[in-house]
Symmetry: C2
Subunit: 224 residues, 2 copies
DNA sequence: TCAATATAGATTGTTGAACAATATATTTCT
DNA sequence: AGAAATATATTGTTCAACAATCTATATTGA
């Protein structure tokens, strides 16, 4: 794993820092982030932190309630369903856009291989990351930075859900093989079958996330 | 036309104000927005304005260059192509999602009718707005707020392009009929034909935007 | 003259303190 | 207990200041 590149202003660094904390489940869903508290915690001023909050709120990771403050987004089942609807539309587009010899296909192949190794090594966290990267690479088949950006936003929110779950462990395990099959179908230009398999993947994944959402962390540290 | 609802904080109001100025072409593409200048112009403090800039940058309307400032996004041909790739994916998804009796269909019908009236009245600006609203309603067929939000982002950028053009006049005129036909096909559940017509619309629209981009405003007030 | 360098000026990045406006918690009253 | 009034805390916003960086100007050297 490469070390994070230290670049940009204090605000940028703080934004990625908080983003990572959110994705890693460092905060509880719906938890309020006090400006003075977080500011002193990160060693930045309140004004700078407010800029960071505005960025993260624009990305859907924080909810900004006027005169009340910034709250950690707490995606519920409706949100998960919404996220998977978005994924269906975008990733179906990716299947249709899949062109032979596209650089993204090579990336997908490599990511499938890596995921297999990590699974065999029992490194579930890496499997999850590689699974995300695989689907991200898949969207890049569309050759649209805007579509990729949109997908990233939705996936960040999904990662936020994962961070709020307890058993993030084997959640991605069953999908290593599915991704491998999906890649092969795309490589061979078997669009219809790829679409069908994608649907199957999304249904299954959505189902497991929704199921895990029932026994989520908010049961422990419940916040209004 | 309804008066703008005065709500939210100064920052929110300033954000929508600047956003409107951007969309209406009040600034030139690539123009630099000085913090002190714009702040005094809007009667807000520099710190508050920086929050606004962060919001608009997240939405792709401004480009934030560290230590250099905020610049008006200047979508070039590559950006327009990218935008239409995104539209194709999302709106094809909308066609597939079109369900009989969906509320969005009723909205589309009303918008088609309004657009026809405005066209007959020669109100091209309204035709443009209604055209946008029509396609926005179409995306709502997907029943995904996230997908709609993504679409809104891309369309805002497209409106930014329009604002930077000279002859924004008849740009939307040919599409009133196309939209009407598209609506009818969706209403009758003729998916394949709707897809074909949608493709035709997007190709034609993209072409005209690209063409207009050649004789755009930046020829007059060129900014590095 | 031209290019490289050094200087001066302007702009952004960030902070801390201050205060008004709003929300939350506490107390008081019936 | 429930409602009203008070007190406290938090957000929204501004201002002034300074460091860091960029930009334009002036200077120097070949």
């Amino acid at each position: 794993m490469l070390a994070d590149i230290e670049q940009g202003s204090l605000a940028s660094k703080a934004a990625t820092e908080i983003r990572n904390m959110l994705i890693e489940g460092h905060f509880g869903p719906g938890e309020k982030l006090s400006e003075v508290q977080v500011a002193s915690q990160l060693g930045i001023s309140r004004n700078t932190l407010r800029e960071v909050f505005r960025i993260l709120a624009s990305q859907g990771l924080l909810i900004h309630v006027p005169n009340r403050g910034a709250f950690v987004a707490a995606p519920d089942e409706a949100a998960v369903i919404d996220i998977y609807r978005t994924r269906r539309v975008i990733q179906r587009g990716a299947v249709h856009a899949a062109a032979l010899g596209h650089p993204a296909l090579a990336r997908m192949q490599a990511l499938v291989a890596d995921a297999g190794n990590m699974r065999d090594g029992g490194n579930w966290q890496a499997v999850g990351t590689l699974n995300m990267d695989f689907h991200r690479a898949m969207v890049e088949l569309c050759d649209s930075s805007r579509l990729s950006a949109c997908f990233d936003l939705v996936m960040a929110e999904l990662r936020l859900v994962f961070g709020q779950l307890i058993d993030t462990g084997h959640l991605h395990e069953p999908y290593v093989e599915l991704n491998a099959s999906l890649y092969k179908l795309l490589l061979e230009g078997r669009t219809a079958e790829a679409l069908s398999l994608l649907d199957h993947y999304l249904v299954q994944s959505e189902r497991s996330v929704l199921a895990a959402l029932h026994r989520r962390r908010s049961d422990q540290k419940a916040v209004t």
